[in-house]
């Protein structure tokens, strides 16, 4: 049974800032700019004086590149890459070694296991443990305290695997709890599941694009999370939405341009049909985006937060600032 109820949850969460929870899990189909959203959220939170840890779950480190020029790898240990902003990448085997070390309290045995080829072959072929150990590490990080007894991080920001994988990722603790009869692993998976389902702690942030496939996948994700996985989900971030290409009072500018004959000389400009075709292209992309923004909002029943497409691309933390401020603000249609 999911604890998430449709209307109530959405309303309660939309009024909160995306930066309020202790744990944000950002997910989305490949190419949606999920990592950019993670970096921008981290920046927004750090700017507000919160101690943020970005947790990457893939095999490459992308977030540090967006937040610091020519960064050294942050690795499993992690590093403070900007004041108040840490980043790390969870390598499942390192997390497993840490976990087994804590459980078995025999470092020599754990080291021997990790060097043993047969162990790697068994683990390489075993499903689910990478997801579980990664989330377990996140749970562990959330428990960490400073010497003063304060939480070591105010916000944990997890860059989850791309959607298909993202759902498995979130569902593994539940599956483990239901598949195991007893034992420490079952207990620990239960703690992780509890953390993921706690609305006071956790918020899942789906990132979408206003295009057919990503829109459809996002709607499916929201549905499956609500029906079974039960991680609180408050709003959908729709990334790279193009702005109206020409003023509202000139809605047919492309058509006006298309009426100019091809051979009409224009001073210092490309032929009129080229200009018309550029205008019509931008208009089509804009209209397409608008249609899917509406469709996502309608089909998911959640408030949306749209981020503009940045024509110059994102090359430095300054470019991220714009997105950071928007992400820290209220959702469309939400009570601010």
């Amino acid at each position: 049974m999911s604890r998430v109820t449709r209307g109530g949850m959405a309303l309660a969460d939309s009024a909160r800032s995306l930066l309020d929870p202790r744990l944000l899990i950002v997910t989305g189909k490949g190419g949606t700019g999920k990592t950019t959203v993670v970096a921008a959220l981290a920046l927004a939170a750090a700017k507000r004086g919160r101690r943020v840890l970005v947790v990457e779950t893939g095999r490459e480190e992308y977030v540090p590149r967006l937040l610091a020029p020519n960064p050294e790898p942050v690795g499993y240990k992690g590093r403070e890459i900007r004041p108040g902003l840490w980043a790390m990448r969870v390598d499942p085997y390192q997390a497993l070694a840490e976990y087994l070390g804590l459980q078995l309290r025999m470092q020599a045995l754990v080291s021997r296991m990790m060097r043993y080829k047969g162990f790697h072959q068994l683990m390489d072929a075993s499903p689910g443990w990478r997801e579980l150990i990664t989330l377990g590490k996140v749970w562990h990080l959330k428990q960490q305290r400073t010497e003063e007894g304060e939480p070591r991080y105010d916000l944990l920001l997890v860059d989850a695997p791309a959607t298909g994988h993202g759902l498995t990722f979130l569902d593994v603790p539940r599956v483990v709890v239901s598949a195991l009869r007893a034992g420490p692993l079952r207990r620990h998976a239960g703690w992780v599941e509890e953390m993921l389902r706690d609305p006071a702690t956790t918020l899942l942030v789906p990132v979408a694009l206003a295009e057919e496939l990503p829109a459809r996948e996002t709607v499916e994700l929201v549905k499956r999370v609500r029906e079974g996985i039960g991680v609180p989900i408050g709003r959908v971030v729709i990334n790279a939405v193009v702005e109206r290409p020409f003023p509202e009072e000139l809605p047919d500018l492309d058509e006006q341009l298309a009426r100019i004959p091809e051979d009409r000389a224009l001073s210092g400009l490309p032929p009129a049909p080229v200009i018309a075709s550029c205008a019509s292209h931008l208009r089509s992309r804009y209209e397409l985006n608008q249609r899917y923004v509406e469709e996502i909002a309608h089909a998911s029943g959640l408030p949306t937060l749209t981020l503009p497409y940045l024509p110059g691309g994102i090359h430095s933390p300054d470019d991220l600032e714009v997105l950071a401020e928007l992400l820290a603000g209220p959702a469309n249609g939400a009570v601010a």
Binding site: T163, Q256, L269
Partner: protein, 400 residues
Amino acid sequence: MSIDPEEIVDGRRIVVCVGSGGVGKTTISASLALGGARRGRRVLVLTIDPAKRLGDALGVRSLGNAPRAIPRKVLDGLGVPPEGRLSAMMLDMKRTFDDLVERFAEDEVVRNRILENPIYQHASDALAGSAEYSAMEKVFELSEREDFDLIVLDTPPSQHALDFLEAPQRLLEFLDSRLVHLLLHPAFAAGRFGFRLFQRSAHQVLKALERVSGVSFLEDISEFLLAFEGMSEGFRERAGQVQALLFGPETAFVLAAGPADESVAHATAFLDRLEESGAAVAGIVMNRLRTWPAAEVKLPDKSRREEATASLAQALAEENETQGGALRAAQAALSVLDSYASMVQQDRVATSPLRERARRKGYFWRPVPELPRDVHDLDGLARIASFVFEAGGEEGAVGG
């Protein structure tokens, strides 16, 4: 030495289209297949998860795990010659893996023990990269049939090329693993292998795992593996053949990529791993690249901007009932050109490292311009195919 898409669809039997999610891999796979059919080959495209309307257009959403031919009448309209054929199929990965179990299980008892095991049911889609393995397995099965000259595989949306390439090898290593054997036959394993020290480590590893996971988990795994062992000989041989096909001379890899910074970063990482693995990379299709609609577009510099705006306003006024708004319309049109120019420039800069790499390595480089609307019918695919197969325009001329 460079190879082009034409040579690949003419000469290879398998084309594997790889790339990170969200770049239009399915569209590119389907257009490669259509290109092959247009060149007179009998082609099958194996897709994983097509967008609904594209899937409908290919006719693959309603049918299960079997190829479906695109009707002759439709092919005529797409410029496919009489000898060319195009079929499409949507892969059901779980079912493919189940089929494999059914085929190689010794008898019904073993088969049911596997299919009904909780570990298998929970996890057969995650077992040893079995999604990736299933796709390759299906290609192998289909490649043994005579109905197709060429199979184009749209790979599963895995984050990493290696998951896919390593799947057969990982499965083989797993089946050969001594820890696995020990899980199967804890009692008599000691006599089977002579390395006592080695055995002691394995025992310790298992004991340690059991302390953490609880006994039941290892029991389930052990039962699952025991059942699997009954079929492992045939299975092992098969995985070896699949592996050989994947890295053999009849297979070519095409990387589908997109121009967004994030997509370029993923494509670069993908290519690194493909090259390391020894896979035969043939080329890169850069999908949805923003380019000018004409070959060469120059915008007026600052000093001539006012003059340009005035001349466009004049032309707009001549053709439209603008009631004095022509100047404003012309200004808006100039800012459209500015936005367009910055998009084109951004994509050019973002993709140039990949393009340079293609040139250096002798890969083909085929840019497909972003179209005003998403592609979800066969005519749209034909348009994409014409960009993939005819290196034209300023971008293509350099890489081709």
